[in-house]
Symmetry: C2
């Protein structure tokens, strides 16, 4: 059995400052160069760190970018606005704000594209980014049920599938609007989306 920090009880500890500097440098490089032209050597230089240090901590560009982008999603919060419509609208606008940042736009979609051929990378994205978003959907549903805005679903399996559907619809719509259609997510759009979802969920789904 090992303690919570299994590795390295002896020897020189890894510099936490270097970690932060590397991730910040990665985001800066994403803004200036985009994903495809980002090189690990350049990131190391920006961070004031040797290239070997980078390779010691991350397997490659994909893993590094995932970690660098993941922290952007820390600020996601479910606004307890009192109504489900306002909750949805608030989350959509928050998500869109994050996706408006260039380091999120170019970095996130690139690693998602790479994850189609790398199961470990997909799992890493799921744990550090996607699940954090999905939690908001589950939380919002449970609050709405407590308020009586949504019915308590009897079949747990069906309820789970519905939650998955809503998550894919909300996140997918925002991403598609921002990156593919290339238009901004404003308050009016968020309100329209929330209205469509509410009407759709109110009926027997």
């Amino acid at each position: 059995m090992q303690s919570r920090t299994p590795a390295a009880r002896t020897g020189r500890p890894r510099s936490a400052a270097a970690d932060a500097a590397i991730l910040a440098a990665t985001r800066a490089a994403l803004v200036e160069l985009g994903w495809s032209k980002l090189t690990l050597g350049d990131v190391a230089t920006r961070a004031g760190v040797a290239k070997t240090t980078l390779y010691r901590r991350w397997a490659g560009k994909n893993e590094l970018v995932v970690d660098a982008v993941a922290v952007l999603f820390d600020e996601l919060r479910l606004p307890d606005s009192g109504s489900l419509a306002d909750d949805i609208e608030g989350v959509v606008l928050q998500f869109a704000t994050i996706l408006a940042r260039p380091e999120a736009r170019s970095g996130l979609m690139a690693v998602v594209a790479e994850s189609t051929r790398d199961d470990a990378l997909r799992e890493r994205i799921r744990v550090s980014i996607v699940d954090r978003q999905k939690r908001l959907v589950l939380e919002g549903r449970s609050r709405a049920q407590a308020r009586g805005e949504l019915p308590q679903e009897s079949d747990p399996s069906s309820a789970s599938r519905t939650a998955d559907l809503i998550f894919d619809v909300v996140a997918g719509a925002v991403v598609h609007r921002t990156l593919v259609s290339g238009e901004a997510v404003d308050t009016e759009w968020a309100r329209r989306l929330a209205r469509v979802l509410l009407s759709g969920l109110g009926s027997t789904v």
Copy 2:
């Protein structure tokens, strides 16, 4: 004024067979290697073509992949099934079938990610891929209005925004389900999505 084919009335014409071979080789390379490890030299070798020929026709990897993937979306058709619900379900399943192919998964999202930093590339994607999908949404709406399933909207600006919203929701949800959540789009999921959209659109949106 120039004729429909403005360039090259004299000299040796470009080989149409080479074009097809290159695009097919690109798709094969996408399947085997994915976007990031795909190299133009490898594609040229696979196509039995000199590397210089490739560079004469495409500016770079991004443009080549867009053209190679675009033809996958040629098969998209709006099934005139008689009801809006079935139309939506049919389009969703067709779109999902295309996205299930590995060359579409890895190629499409990668170029979309790149297009966040390249306006010309974004426009190329829009013309050769996105608009082709969007046309189905507009066609489906007009058919549904003819059948009386959807109201004739009075405000054209509002109607346009609604169509944009529906398009982002449908396409975004399918893409997100397939690539981010990593789960298959089956008939049941498509039916649920169609149901949510129909209820949402039926009310005053």
